[in-house]
């Protein structure tokens, strides 16, 4: 996976999230990765191999309105489709 932080998409590219920043933690190839979308860009951050106590399918997604009105962790049902979109974007950029 190479470096720690990699630019995948320039800001303004991803339109799916509207006026929200997204930061998702998910597991890919047995490694924890963060997919962070600010202003419709996408950056990949490699957090490395996961420790044994963490489930191998764990993920977490946080969201922040760009106007500074709300920041929160998303529940699973909202988080899963977002992770799928981000992973698909990562795949298509590879």
């Amino acid at each position: 996976m190479g470096g720690l932080v990699r630019e995948v998409r320039l800001p303004g590219t991803l339109k799916q999230f509207g006026n929200r920043h997204i930061a998702a933690l998910t597991i890919k190839n047995n490694r924890m990765i963060a997919l962070v979308s600010l202003f419709g860009g996408l950056e990949l951050i490699d957090l490395g191999e996961i420790p044994a106590p963490l489930p191998s399918s764990l993920s977490a997604v946080a969201s922040a309105e760009v106007d500074g009105t709300k920041t929160n962790m998303l529940l699973s049902e909202e988080a899963e489709p977002i992770v799928r979109v981000l992973l698909a974007e990562l795949e298509s950029a590879a």
């Binding site: 190479g2 470096g3 720690l4 932080v5 990699r6 630019e7 320039l10 800001p11 303004g12 006026n19 920043h21 930061a23 933690l25 924890m32 963060a34 962070v36 600010l38 202003f39 419709g40 860009g41 950056e43 951050i45 490699d46 957090l47 490395g48 191999e49 996961i50 420790p51 106590p53 963490l54 489930p55 399918s57 764990l58 993920s59 977490a60 946080a62 922040a64 309105e65 760009v66 106007d67 500074g68 009105t69 709300k70 920041t71 929160n72 962790m73 529940l75 699973s76 988080a79 899963e80």
Partner: protein, 302 residues
Amino acid sequence: MPEANDVLDQSAQSGQDTAPASACFWCERPNTDLEDDHVFPRAIGGTKELSVRSCRRCQTSLSQAESALSRKSTYAMHLLEAGPRGRDRRRDPASGQIAAEYVLVPHTLGGYNETALKAGAGECPIALPYVEINVTDSLLTCRRRASEPSEMERLVSTIERMLAGKPDEKGLLCELSVLTHDLGEIGKDPEFWPRIVLDLKGHLFIRARNPEEALKFMSAFTQYLRAGVFNDYSRWVAGPPIMGSTPHQVMIVHDRYLVGRAFAKISCSLSFVAFGEHAKELSRFEILRSYALGNQAEAWEG
């Protein structure tokens, strides 16, 4: 899919070693003066609902990366359309400024206006006062540009204050930044004249295409200054306002290392918020945290 809360519950039940609540998340040093460090930087809209505890020293280091992200990167340009408005309107107007190398706007009366951009949706570009001289013209035609005469007075008095000082031991009266960025198409336009500008922080700088042009400008400008022409507003002309949709040419230098640190910070702090102490067992957590603080210059890939 297990959720972060499940893991947090497990972590709490297992009674694992945790850093004391009064320790900084970033340096792990005990500290009684901790602040909320937002997972998403506040400058781009993050709020304290998702945050870790941080000491001032680490905050200072992290804010360097956050500032690069929110003021000096391609991300900064998106703040103009969608970002949060400044929270404190009484603050120095320069504090929320996009740190562009230049913002030039075609002027309705010819030439190119010097402008500053403030971060935050709904913020309007701010015209900076400047004096420009056509150094290729034997008449050395001079133009004064400002949104109002008082702005020009501010520029002139800043110059006068500077010149009234005592020379140092090397005989140096003052120092001015000379900016000679490649201006692209504007640089090829004879309507662009070298100029002296007063920025939002009250600092003067000279903009020219190259050092030679800057020297010619200074020579001509000094002649005008000695003649006292800048204190005469009898020929002040109020031009038509620069309306919306006017193209602004902006140059921003994007520092991938610093911007990468901001992303390392977001992912590190989020992993801790989501997974608690387990996050610190991720194999690259430590190196990412160190990188976020600016201690791992080699650990990034642009």
